[in-house]
């Protein structure tokens, strides 16, 4: 078990290093020069060429890419993620303030996706080829195929503008505190992001459950005289959960992509919006920090999926004997 973890963590380190190199190269290919962006050609008086060159030097952008990379890496290993080009604040500081917003949004969305998607999928499998199943499958198809910005705009129109139940954007009312205030702002963006993820969860849960329902050991369970509830709850569910855990964990990073859009629409101060702002400002350090955070999340989720797998399925024992 320990050996497995160590091996996996080492592999993860290699993956992350490769990821950071790729990113560095991609950033070089990206059009636009951060130094140019910082010095407004209309308001700047004086020799602009010189000012841009000086700024490039300050930011270290005049160095070759390889040097830039190792400088960044060296700082990173000392726990320094660098400083934002545009605001000058430490990347770690910017990220931590934004991270809490994103975690709140993603956590709530994930909860909604799991609590809605998986039970609905299981019920659809148990009532397959009935109106319940068809309705659930249709709605999940909608959740997958309708872009979330559209659902978001629809949600704002209905619940915020027409009904006036919920606020249109933001994370808190001005000066507002307390759980209820935060919750009111969270409901709409989290539901919409969660809905988009509930779609695939429902489908996976349905197909996984259907596969288990066709297995011989369910007939055995029934032949023992168990009730339908016992057969489904005790025997079918746990087996159906095995593939679901992996799928659920692997989907978590895709939540980030959804969060970028939703945060933008709801003016939610999270990492997604931070990344968008960083892209338009060519703020490389922030962008690097963001993408590395996502990469780490992906690696961690995969590791968690493998561990969860071993916990649910006794046939898989990590490390040692097969």
């Amino acid at each position: 078990m320990i050996a497995f973890l160590v091996r996996r963590l080492m592999i993860s380190g290699v993956v992350l290093a490769a990821m950071s190199i790729l990113l560095f190269v991609l950033l070089q290919v990206m059009p636009g020069d951060p130094a140019e962006m910082m010095i407004d050609p209309f308001s700047f008086a004086g020799n602009r060429e010189e000012a841009v060159a000086r700024r490039r030097e300050q930011l270290g952008l005049d160095q070759p890419v390889v040097v830039q990379y190792f400088r960044w890496l060296g700082e990173l290993l000392q726990g320094n993620l660098g400083y934002s080009f545009s605001s000058g604040r430490a990347v770690s500081e910017v990220m931590t303030t934004r991270l809490s917003g994103t975690i709140r949004l993603m956590g709530a969305s994930m909860l909604i996706a799991v609590l809605v998607g998986i039970p609905v999928g299981i019920v659809a499998a148990l009532r397959r080829n009935t109106a319940v199943d068809y309705t659930a499958s249709f709605v999940s198809l909608l959740a997958i195929s309708v872009p979330s910005f559209f659902v978001a705009l629809l949600g704002i129109y209905v619940f915020a503008l027409t009904l006036g139940w919920l606020p249109t954007a933001g994370m808190n009312s001005p000066g507002g505190t307390g759980l209820w205030d935060s919750l009111r702002y969270l409901i709409l963006p989290a539901s919409i992001l969660g809905f988009a993820l509930a779609g695939p969860y429902m489908r996976y849960a349905r197909s996984s459950m259907l596969e288990v329902l066709g297995q011989d050991f369910l007939v055995t369970a029934r032949s023992k005289g168990l009730s339908r509830l016992q057969v489904v709850g005790r025997h079918a569910l746990r087996n159906a959960m095995i593939p679901l855990v992996t799928v659920a964990a692997i989907q978590i990073p895709s939540l980030f992509a959804g969060a970028v859009v939703i945060e933008q629409i709801f003016a939610w101060p999270g990492m997604g919006r931070m990344a968008l702002e960083a892209i338009s400002a060519r703020d490389y350090p922030i962008l690097l920090g963001f993408v590395m955070a996502v990469a780490i999340l992906v690696v961690v989720c995969n590791l968690l999926a493998d561990l969860a797998y071993a916990i649910i399925d006794p046939r898989i024992r990590i490390g040692g004997r097969a």
């Binding site: 050991f217 055995t220 023992k224 005289g225 168990l226 016992q230 005790r234 087996n239 046939r315």
Partner: protein, 335 residues
Amino acid sequence: MTAAEPLLALRDVVTTFRTDMGRVPAVNGVSYSVLPGETVGVVGESGSGKSVTVTSALGLLPHSGTVESGQAVFAGRDLFTLGERELQRIRGREIGLIFQDPMSALNPVMTIGRQISEGLRRHDRRLSRSAARARVVELLAEVGIPNPAARARQYPHEFSGGMRQRAMIAMAMANRPRLLIADEPTTALDVTVQAQILALIAQVQAETGAALIMITHDLGVIAEIADRVVVMYGGRVVETGPIGSVFGKPGHPYTRGLLTSLPRLDRPAAELYAIPGQPPNPMFLPDGCAFRVRCEQSQNRVECWTQPDLTALTPGHASACHFSHELAASEEVSR
């Protein structure tokens, strides 16, 4: 026939399956019965309806299957008229099932002990968790599993094929049922283990006094343990009778074909006989006698285009063939 009341009496059971091509009969008017304590062997090729008949009786058919008509009287009650809850009280308590492949028939993520004890506790609400656990260990010991206390905490994948089937038998006999149904219990096992499992089933039956329906395509198994045999073909019973009588004087060309195709020590293996043709597809059963297209007795005679009834040859021995008398005559010659 003795005067004893049968434990299970199947009468004219018809079961169909829903397919893309409409409703297909898998079991087409099957009748047979089992006396208390008796062993009945049911033989037939795959698709002959031998398993579907018993799953019909127990209400364990898959969604696409429906019992169309007939009766399955178990201890005085017609199982087809019982509700799901009443059937649940019978399954596992009065009728125990042993399945073909003990790997897929056991839940891979539940310990063996728990899979046995849940059946015990289902039918005896007062049984405590610890008492059930103690009973499980006893049961595993009874079916010859060494170190039963530790084995009970293991998962199916930690058991060998033979051990899994032993655990399956422990599960089926847990509540001392009056009827055991074994559906090809040795097919998925190594030849070396098959004999042990058969012996174990016979031992369990002797200890509990249960009746046994042994479903198999292996005549050797039947010969070893059955009192009576039911031969099925194309969803119907084609011959039934006491084991000695059916094996000694088969009244149906199909039964005779099966017996002739067994390898024998006194004949070279190169001359091994095989029934010509393929087992019938239940979707396209021939009109009349389903066996006529493969039958060496029929020789395309017109009688074979009508379904023969099961008629008694001797008391207790019946066959569904228009020419069973010819068969009896030729049998004398070939001996």
